[in-house]
Amino acid sequence: MEEKREDSLQEVAAAGKGERRGGFLGEALFLARRHVVFLSLVAFIAVMPFWAKPLSKPLGIPLVMVMRLVGIYTIVAVGLNILMGYAGQISLGHGAFFGIGAYTSAILTVKAHFPPWLGIIMAVLVAIAFGFLVAPVLRLKGHYLAMATLGVGIVLFVFLREMTWLTGGNDGIRNIPPLSLPGMRIGEARDYLRAEYYFIWVIALIVLLLCSNLVRSRLGRAMRALHQSEVAAEVMGVNVSWEKIKVFVLSTALAGLAGGIFAHVQGYIDPNLFTIVLSIQLVTMVVVGGMESIWGAVAGAGLITFIPKIVEALPKWLGEVPRWVEKYSNYEGMVFGLILVLTMIFMPAGITRGLSDMVRYRRSPFVNPFRKKAME
């Protein structure tokens, strides 16, 4: 892992023009410049519901509804991106932590009558606890870590299915109370959706902002350092195993948060929502969006969430579609797997970086995997 792609060195240079100082104004300017992407995203999210209404019907895609999911997946994907992209620790089990969050809040609100907001907070805390519990797997590296986290996901799935008295088994949990938010009126489905949409995205945007600060801090540097050489980072005084645990638990906390919100938005959950397919979907979001990229997480979450919705809408656009398109959901896992593999081969830097490179350096976003690497 020590030697990576030569051509990505340009961005390292671009990213290096980091901290500059100078009073309050300096800080404000610094933030504004650094957060152009962030501010544009805020603007987009704020106005989206207004033009979404007229667009949704002809498209056949309920845009606000889908964007709620994008927001939820963004929260998980950001955490997973920090873990995988920055710190270089793979996890194929984050669907499980998402599930832990969802079940925690669902059980507490349905069976113990907690209010949803408290349920969601508890979801985060429980996900943190499970994060620490699972953290010892971080001693493993590479494929071994991938296999171990995969195992964690499977164990949890079985646990959710078999602990019927707590989780309802295969029937899952129904009638999870929705979030009660300002601007919601009973019986007005559209108000509900919109309020949830804004609630989710406010949280997602805050998470994005905090995470983009984090990766540019001393902790972010420590993560990137241990990603590139654990030995060197450790010898330079970075407590590698502890830093790994911290970033892992951060990512499980965010997965728990997203899962907790998901339960209330969805209204019902069952174990089949949180299988390995979800974990792979999350990893695909990270890889497609671009490793080591906070904004890539948004792009990846958006793309991967919209693909199935677009396929579902195809009959409406085209009238007649082949049978296998109608049965798309049967192939969903395969489609994500394919996207994952193709991205890793042809656009290993992900779409956000691929596209920004194309604009900035006039370079094709695709790599030719058959080109021979220059000899050492």
Partner: protein, 274 residues
């Protein structure tokens, strides 16, 4: 750094050395890799603010000895005392925190980070903002960040890499990558700096400059251990030389003494030392 040079003290030291004057004392260190003793029963001491060289033919165990001192490997036997405290069993980051830094024979810079960021990693241990402070950019975290950037620039100045601060570390030529490793190690503010073949890949002029740099580092109050194959550099700048062969100490003394030691000449077949 003002060092009180106390005389006396008897425990465990080799004859002629007083513990108070010594920063590091390694005692019968042994490390075996599957039957092969890479380091065998090695004892030596390093005086405060000295420049001490460790030489020996390829495979003599010099790098392995560094790995033992920095906690990358634990010795099978023996002890390491640094400032009267044992380093045995401590993880590398704790040893770094106590004031031991090193460079690597095969450079291990963080090639995907900028030159300055590399050095900033060295300052990680001197700062303490946590997840909350860093993600909210609280005033203290911001102050620390500014301090880190400033300090990093200082160390880059010291090794002469200030112009490359924003370049990706991986794009530096080999010799400069070694200098970067030195800057990064110095940023951990060590008391003892272990250099592993810093002159390899440098031309004669750059090697001379490296010698000057090592003097400057020593003048900052930092003790330097130098593993090096360039005998010219070793003989010129070091006050003491330890010679290893097949993992064992075969000679120790001033450059002059070592140069004339028959066992050393034999180990090197007489050629390299002249």
């Amino acid at each position: 750094m003002n060092v009180a040079r106390t005389a006396g003290g008897t425990e465990g030291g080799a004859p002629g050395f007083a513990p108070g004057e010594h920063l590091l004392a390694a005692e019968s260190l042994t490390k075996t890799f599957g039957g092969l003793a890479a380091v065998k029963n090695v004892s030596f001491m390093v005086r405060k603010e000295a420049i001490k060289a460790i030489i020996g033919p390829n495979g003599a165990g010099k790098t392995t000895l560094y790995d033992l001192l920095t906690g990358i490997y634990e010795p099978d036997e023996g002890s390491v005392i640094f400032e009267e405290k044992s380093l045995l069993g401590l993880p590398p980051h704790r040893i770094c925190a106590m004031g031991v830094a090193r460079t690597f024979q095969t450079v291990r810079i963080f090639s995907q980070m900028t030159v300055q960021e590399n050095v900033m990693v060295g300052l990680h241990k001197s700062t303490s903002s946590g997840m909350v402070g860093c993600s909210l950019r609280l005033p203290r975290a911001r102050r620390e960040e500014a301090w880190i950037a400033e300090e990093a620039t200082r160390y880059l100045d010291l090794v002469g890499l200030e112009m490359q601060a924003d370049s990706p570390a991986g794009s530096l030529p080999y010799g400069q990558q070694r200098l970067l490793e030195m800057a990064r190690a110095l940023a951990t503010r060590p008391k003892l700096l272990l250099l592993d073949e810093p002159a390899s890949g440098l031309n004669a002029y750059e090697t001379r400059e490296l010698g000057e740099l090592i003097y400057r580092i020593r003048d900052m109050g930092i003790t330097v251990l130098l593993v090096e194959h360039d005998m010219g550099l070793v003989m010129r700048i070091s006050e003491e030389v330890l010679v290893l062969d097949y993992g064992e100490v075969i000679a120790e003394g001033t450059p002059e003494e070592v140069r004339n030691d028959p066992r050393v000449i034999e180990a090197y077949l007489g050629s390299e030392l002249e």
